[in-house]
Amino acid sequence: MGRFIARRLLGAIPLLVGITIISFMFMHLMPGGPDSLYARSGRMNQEQLDAIRQNMGLDQPVVIQYARWVGNLARGDLGNSYVQFRPVRDIILERLPNTMLLVGAGLIIAVTFSLIFGIVAAIYQYSFFDHLFSFVSFFGMAMPVFWFGLMLQLLFAVQLGWLPTSGMGSMDDGGIIERIRHLILPASVLGVGSIAFWSRYVRSSMLEVIRQDYMRTARAKGLREWSVFSRHALKNALIPFVTVIGIDIPLYFVGAVVTETIFSWPGMGRLFYDSLNARDYPVLMGLLIFSAVLIVIGNLIADIAYAYLDPRIKYS
């Protein structure tokens, strides 16, 4: 097990190096390069521009620039924003808690409903509910997330007026209740995409477990139906589901771009969209690297968790 983990960790290193190289290349492909914002302002003369370029290290060869950039990256320095003139790291860290809150709420919604739908559909296979859920999940898979967001906004915020359309409410003003009211719609939008897939997944893995011999054995030795269900069926069915969640969590941070944009939720996703419009490339690169690292870590954890939870897997 220890060797398996070590090998997986080592395998991730070239991937991380590749990520930094591609991000760096991307940054240098940007129109006009990193100094374009200053060059465009028109109020600077050539001398001042040269000073800035020297200051940013742009007069050095590309390889040296890359080495310096990676060195800074390793120390957590992602450079400065072109627009806010502060460290990118600070800007991202400021938004991180808001996105974590949204992603967490979305995950809770998605996991809860996937489990309910998946388990009910599996236990009552081919019942009315089973067919209903599979019909609904067909729609869920076909629905663009942003449009679902617009529809929820239109229905619950504009037409019915039950929930706020956007923002996240101020804690001083309305307190925790107000925050939750602002959270419901965007969190549902973020979670709904995976409910369709996850509930199908839970259903099929439940169905598989229910047919196993050890289920009959458990009943035969006189266990109550509830403990057969919870200790034997559910536990075994959920092992693969846990790893699916692990792989999908980084996608929640990606999906946050669309959701936070629609609902003006002040998190990293909204930051990405705003930086896109402002052409604030250091912030974009910071967010890109952040999500890439998150995806690599997510896959790594899912790999290891799967091997750990299911002893039948060979560590090769």
């Binding site: 070239p14 991937l15 590749g18 990520i19 591609i22 991307f26 492909l29 940007m30 129109p31 067909f138 729609f139 898979m141 076909a142 629905m143 663009p144 997330v145 942003f146 449009w147 617009l150 529809m151 906004q153 239109l154 504009v158 037409q159 980084p250 996608l251 990606v254 771009v257 669309v258 944009t261 629609i262 990405f272 969209y273 896109l276 419009n277 052409r279 974009l284 967010l287 890109l288 999500s291 890439a292 995806i295 690599v296």
Partner: protein
């Protein structure tokens, strides 16, 4: 060259021709019995018909404006109302289908070609070629496609062709993995060894013996890629970094819609409904194809 020809004759003598034909007709008859798939096929046919003959069917032109009718509800002249620039929504939906479907189809084509080429190369040659290509795929997958596309289109100005090209270039990785996996096991089978022993070239083995066995998986993946790319196009266009706003697509018709929730809620509803119906239809077809090619998969 001569070897290849001789090999080809041998193959025909083995009555492979009639065999392959019946395989396709069996699949088609299974597909016909899949009710949802036939519904999907019908829906897509209607959408395609409307898109192809848009100028003949649409009541108004694509950009025809009536400045006295800004964001109005349905009326006798404009069945689905008008948008924020006084253009007929129904007409724009019909024209929008052209771009949305073409983008989905075009991008799926690129996805398929790149995915099959990379997957075949990796799976057939194996070894270090395979390792390098697979590590490359890992690397590309580490970057969320939607982020890369948004950043790209903030640099490169997005035309319809650009959107097709880049959507395709960012979505071939799954297909490549599928094809590679299938080829890795197929190439160890006896019939491949037999073909090689009578002197068939690599190209011949891949194109005549290996790929026909993977064609079902490729077709199913291609339909799913089309659905995926249509949603991606709509998302990009909605955010303002996809197809330019002057060209109607189901995605960018939704861009300004949230400002008109009270005046014209239909502006936000209709393009989405059409989009969902089209994606549903494609997914139904994909499902039907999977069952038709491989009845055991259910």
């Amino acid at each position: 060259m001569e070897n290849d020809q001789a090999h080809g004759k041998l193959e025909l003598n083995l009555a492979q021709r009639s065999q392959r034909r019946s395989h396709w007709s069996i699949a088609w008859s299974r597909f016909k019995r899949h009710r949802l798939a036939m519904v999907g096929l019908g829906m897509i046919s209607v959408f395609t018909f409307l898109a192809l003959f848009a100028p003949l069917i649409a009541p108004y032109g694509m950009d025809e404006q009536d400045l006295f009718k800004i964001a109005e509800g349905p009326s006798a002249e404009n069945w689905l109302g008008t948008d924020e620039l006084g253009r007929d929504v129904l007409s724009r939906l019909i024209y929008g289908g052209r771009i949305s479907l073409a983008v989905g189809l075009g991008a799926a084509l690129i996805t398929t070609v790149v995915g099959v080429v990379v997957g075949t190369t990796a799976g057939y040659f194996g070894g270090w070629v395979d390792s390098i290509l697979m590590r490359f795929i890992d690397l590309v997958l580490a970057f969320p496609a939607i982020f890369m596309l948004l950043i790209l289109f903030s640099i490169v100005s997005a035309s319809v062709w650009n959107v097709i090209l880049f959507l395709g270039l960012f979505s071939w990785m799954w297909l490549a993995r599928v094809v590679r996996g299938e080829l890795l096991s197929l190439k160890e089978r006896e019939f491949v060894e037999a073909a090689r022993s009578i002197g068939a070239s690599n190209v011949r083995i891949v194109s005549q013996h290996l790929l026909p066995n993977v064609v079902a998986a490729i077709i199913v993946s291609a339909t799913l890629a089309m659905a995926f790319n249509m949603i991606a196009e709509a998302t990009l266009s909605f955010l303002g970094f996809g197809v330019p706003p002057s060209v109607p697509t189901w995605g960018n018709m939704l861009t300004g819609a949230s400002s008109f929730y009270l005046r014209a809620p239909l502006l936000a509803v209709m393009p989405g409904v059409v989009l969902v119906l089209a994606i549903l239809a494609i997914n139904f077809i994909g499902d039907g194809l999977r069952d038709a090619f491989d009845p055991q998969s259910r």
